[in-house]
Assembly symmetry: C2
Homo-oligomer: 453 residues x 2
């Protein structure tokens, strides 16, 4: 395993190509590090500046007296090699190259030279052509998107490894907005030396990472990938989305990260064999990650639906019937008889349990408790259409109490606007997984069951 | 065609079962009408009250001297028939029955009695077991969800016909939050006499309605449906989602709206034949509706992608390759040569056009204009990952200008959190269709092409 500690918890960073000009990559990099709560030392390097954002600036990395753990390079492609040589002289062995303009635009010669030098001198390099790296626990922040444009999430357990910086950051931004928490974010670009597999292997042993999301366009070394992933997926779930599945998409990867995309069917088969959860699109990837963020291991695949909207119950049943691995729970007669006694005759006790439009908090409490005690139920999908007038906001406490005591995975579906978003945000803050649509929740439950069985 | 005018633009409404008690259905109904800008007269009916929300209350509909265009009934199922007889005596021929507790819970006897009386006396009845009706142009508001829980959208051109009130209102709430505008919302419940087809036929001739969304669990009269829909889809797009497609889901529809769901394949075939756009889930239904809300008729099926994130471009190509009816546009050599001259060498001019992470507003303007002029391009999918630092907010004006002058449909994909939501909201307010994920936009473009070709 390659030790990538210095990419996530360096004690000192040199920003080579730091800039005084607001908005420029080399300026944003320094500013982000300053505004993050990163505790290491920051050394801007720029031959033409004395100070950058009030930090002393160095003409070359060789002028820095202190030890440098990580060098971040944001200088033109043509002078990258020269700069790496200086880093090597200074014994900086961990290098992150932001700069683009290598194999992805046909400049393979330059990238090969780089690769040769790196390998010969036992340097660890991530990049080139990357957005950067974030560690939400150490607060390391080396991505060049301003914090005013991309809010950083709180420290959590999802790590996201992405070949495409833009795809990664856009999705990270959305997930953060939805209240999800991350461990690490790694844009690895052209993967000239350190590749996706090296990073996944490292994350497999990272205690902060409980679930790994992966956007890849190509795999550098298939055999290595298979060997490593087989191990990692035993320890934690890996959710992957493969860009370039079509012939035309495959062509587009070449001009993006210089990847040869390879055949989709081959990938798909390998993913299945390795117990990698394959997401069809970015939305699914996030939906799957959320369920692993805080979920228990289910005992089986039988889902009970509880709803206050009949149509939503039906659509959920339909969605479950489309999965290959979920089935509808069949409540015991005991549970059914008990619940029927508790509820008015308009309530249907079956699967779904339809608490109907005039359901109050109490009906939910009764239904959930009965399902938790029923051995025929493995997973609960709870639809709470909070638009109905008899539900009060206290239901968030009630749901949190029930869900936290539960040994069965429970997810909530709720759809709506401003008020429902508040309702869901409160639930998310209590560590409860919520989805907007029934089919989303069902697909996520299916991914959960797929991973464990 | 059944004239449903009184359900959407009555001059006077009696709320039978109006209540003084806050939160009760009969109270919410009166309150909603009062707080909407509905211009007709409101007559609460309740034998036990003198005043409700400061309105004079009547012991019976027979005590009202003025003419009543529409009676809304929210009284127990057992006394519905008695009340309808009074309405008939008063010559109220348009009746909306909110009350549940009929065939959907096995009470078919009562529903049959109701049906017989209604038909014999030539009354137009929508319901029972409905959420109510909304007309966003006349401001008629007869749904029993409080305005504090469910915000009403602005007047627009989407009409939503839904067998499930809860499914309908939750989706309406979300769409409103996302800035979309509606014409009418009709929850039609058990469809005892007036059914989904009657309502669709009416909407087919409604000048406010440009696109019809439909959530159905069953179709009452297949022959009538086919005859009417064949005509309506020639005039405007109908997007339908069928609940109860699985055997188990089909069973659940029985206890929801008393519908026999029927075989999915049969429905699917009929929908295709009638040029009804079939949505797989509620999310897709909304995504499709949005594209018809403001879209031009495309000249063909060739999509050009413009992006500032390579990965997003690739995922879009993949999504297009999954559709049956879209293909990637091939820019003319003239366009390619022109654009290559304009851009730095890191930009890829192909399909996708990858403007890369340092794209500014100007690059977008150049790329869009070139694609608008290129006859090989029919549709444009524009990815704007607004997290990148060189894009400024003025791009919203630029995009609006380009899109409004365009005769080719253009949709925008943008993913992110708070800042991106603001960015998208501004675009939506300018009448531009935005999506969160590439696959969503692609599916919507595919639905657009499916409808016209």
């Amino acid at each position: 395993m390659i030790n990538l500690d210095n990419f996530f918890k360096p004690k000192s960073i040199a920003i080579i190509g730091a800039s005084r000009k607001k908005g420029k990559v080399g300026n944003v990099l320094v500013e982000n590090l300053l505004h993050s709560k990163f505790k290491g030392k920051i050394y801007p390097v720029n031959p033409k500046a004395n100070k950058i954002l009030n930090l002393k600036c160095y003409k070359s990395v060789l002028n820095i007296k202190e030890k440098i753990d990580l060098a971040v390079l944001a200088i033109p492609a043509e002078i990258i090699l020269k700069s790496i040589k200086e880093c090597n002289k200074k014994e900086v062995k961990d290098i992150l190259i932001i700069t683009a303009g290598f194999s992805e635009i046909g400049n393979t010669k330059l990238e090969n030279e780089l690769k040769q030098y790196i390998e010969k001198n036992q340097i660890r390099m991530i990049g080139p052509n990357v957005l950067g790296i974030l560690d939400f626990h150490t607060k390391l922040d080396t991505i060049f998107l301003p914090r005013t444009r991309l809010k950083r999430p709180e420290a959590g357990c999802i790590s996201f490894v992405t070949q495409s910086g833009a795809a990664g950051s856009a999705v990270l931004d959305l997930a953060t907005f939805e209240g999800h928490k991350f461990a690490k974010f790694i844009s690895y670009g052209n993967a000239t030396t350190i590749d996706e597999t090296d990073i996944i292997e490292y994350l497999g042993n990272d205690k902060d990472t409980k679930v790994i999301c992966l956007y890849i366009e190509g795999i550098k070394d298939g055999r290595k990938f298979m060997k490593v992933l087989k191990d990692v997926t035993k320890k934690k779930p890996v959710i992957a989305i493969k860009g370039g599945i079509s012939e035309q998409g495959s062509k587009a990867t070449l001009s993006h990260t210089g990847s040869l995309a390879g055949d989709y069917k081959v990938y798909s088969g390998v993913f299945k064999q390795l117990n990698i959860i394959q997401a069809e699109n970015l939305e699914d990837m996030l939906d799957y990650a959320y369920i692993f963020e805080s979920m228990l291991k289910p005992k089986g695949n039988r889902v009970q639906i509880i709803t206050n909207g009949g149509g939503y119950g039906i659509l959920t049943v339909d969605a479950i019937s489309k999965t290959k691995n979920l089935q509808l729970a069949q409540l015991t007669e005991k549970t059914k008889n008990y619940l029927k006694k508790q509820f008015p005759k308009t309530v249907t006790v079956n699967n779904p349990i339809d608490l109907v439009g005039d359901a109050d908090n109490k009906r939910y409490e009764l239904a959930i408790n009965a399902c938790l005690q029923d051995n025929n139920v493995d997973l609960i999908l709870l639809i709470v259409l909070y638009q109905t007038p008899l539900l009060t906001f206290e239901i968030t406490d009630l749901l949190a109490k029930e869900i936290h005591k539960s040994k069965k995975p429970i997810v909530i579906v709720s759809t709506g606007g401003e008020i429902i978003n508040k309702f869901k945000k409160v639930l998310e803050e209590k560590g409860i997984v919520t989805y907007t649509f029934p089919h989303e929740a069902v697909k996520a439950l299916s991914a959960l069951v797929e991973y464990y069985f």
